[in-house]
Point group: C2
Chain length 191, copies 2
């Protein structure tokens, strides 16, 4: 009988099974240029290259028909007024979708497409979000103390295009202002 | 701002959002020939064409890069000694995978591939199961009173091949015998 060890336990997402073989750690320095407040960024980095988010994924052949799945953990924190967030990416094969399921925490998925449309969707426990083909996406943790934990599935041949977002940014930023969460235009966004 | 209504709430899977536009209801009669005990099947059908399982899916273009997702609900019950189950299927594009996440209930995923390998994996709340490309799969509810509820994601171009399983059956059956659950060889299985 064949063994299927490719399993996560989403009731205990902080316990990562030993067979999960791809652990990606993104530190502050890898997000250089993405946060609005450059001074706050450099001041923070001078103290510590903080871990902003982590991804645990199971390696599978990166071919059409396979799917990649894993757990994304965005830690709580801010750079200036701006909440911790993932790099955000398009898929290299633009016409590929992604499914996100939020297990823990609170936050938002900021999305936009090459046609100039954009959207901000709430991530809260229980919620499944379908990111359609052509939509770049970034998850943002807005909790003050809890990780934002999501489970994701996407076509294994999709690939990641981080460069377009690194160059262009997203239309929208999520910031904390006078103790409330605000969506504002990103002054760095350049089409 | 574009609207993304394509959302499920997996903390409340029994509440199906109104935008879920594909509701599939499988009654006993649609599983004719799949259960081992023909007499128990016909006796049961003579009384009522019971709903065995239901699927709620969101319609998306059935093309590569899109994904289909939804909720599967297998009701509790037995035909003779054999637990209620889905029809089970290969994908028409054999080289496509599927991800299952179990939210409620208890049961098993019975799987096999054209090479003659087979496997039975436990489904319990929290558990994510990756069904790799080439593996036919059937979910089986073994609870006496609760639905088996899973969330699934698969490539939108995969398609469903039910015919191969209708002709051949699965290697393994899951039955109740003297109040315990047993896996036995399916006498109807024909390679």
């Amino acid at each position: 009988m064949k063994d299927f060890p490719m399993v996560f336990d989403l009731l205990n997402p902080e316990i990562i099974p030993s067979h999960v073989d791809n652990h990606i750690i993104r530190k502050l320095s890898s997000l250089r240029g993405q946060f609005y407040d450059n001074k706050a960024f450099e001041d923070m980095l001078a103290i510590e290259d903080t871990v902003i988010y982590e991804v645990y994924e199971i390696k599978r052949p990166e071919v059409a028909g396979e799917m990649l799945m894993g757990i994304s953990i965005v830690h709580p924190g801010k750079v200036g007024q701006e909440f911790f967030m993932t790099k955000g990416h398009y898929h290299t094969i633009l016409e590929t979708a992604e499914v996100y399921y939020c297990m823990r925490g609170e936050g938002f998925m900021v999305m936009e497409n090459p046609e100039g449309e954009f959207s901000i969707e709430c991530l809260s426990p229980g919620r499944v979000l379908y990111v359609p083909p052509r939509w770049a996406h970034r998850s943002i943790c807005t909790s003050r103390q809890d990780d934002l934990i999501t489970f994701f599935v996407y076509p294994a041949d999709a690939g990641h295009d981080y460069g377009t977002i690194e160059d262009r940014g997203f239309h929208k930023m999520v910031i904390e202002k006078q103790n409330s969460i605000e969506f504002i235009d990103n002054p760095k966004w350049n089409k």
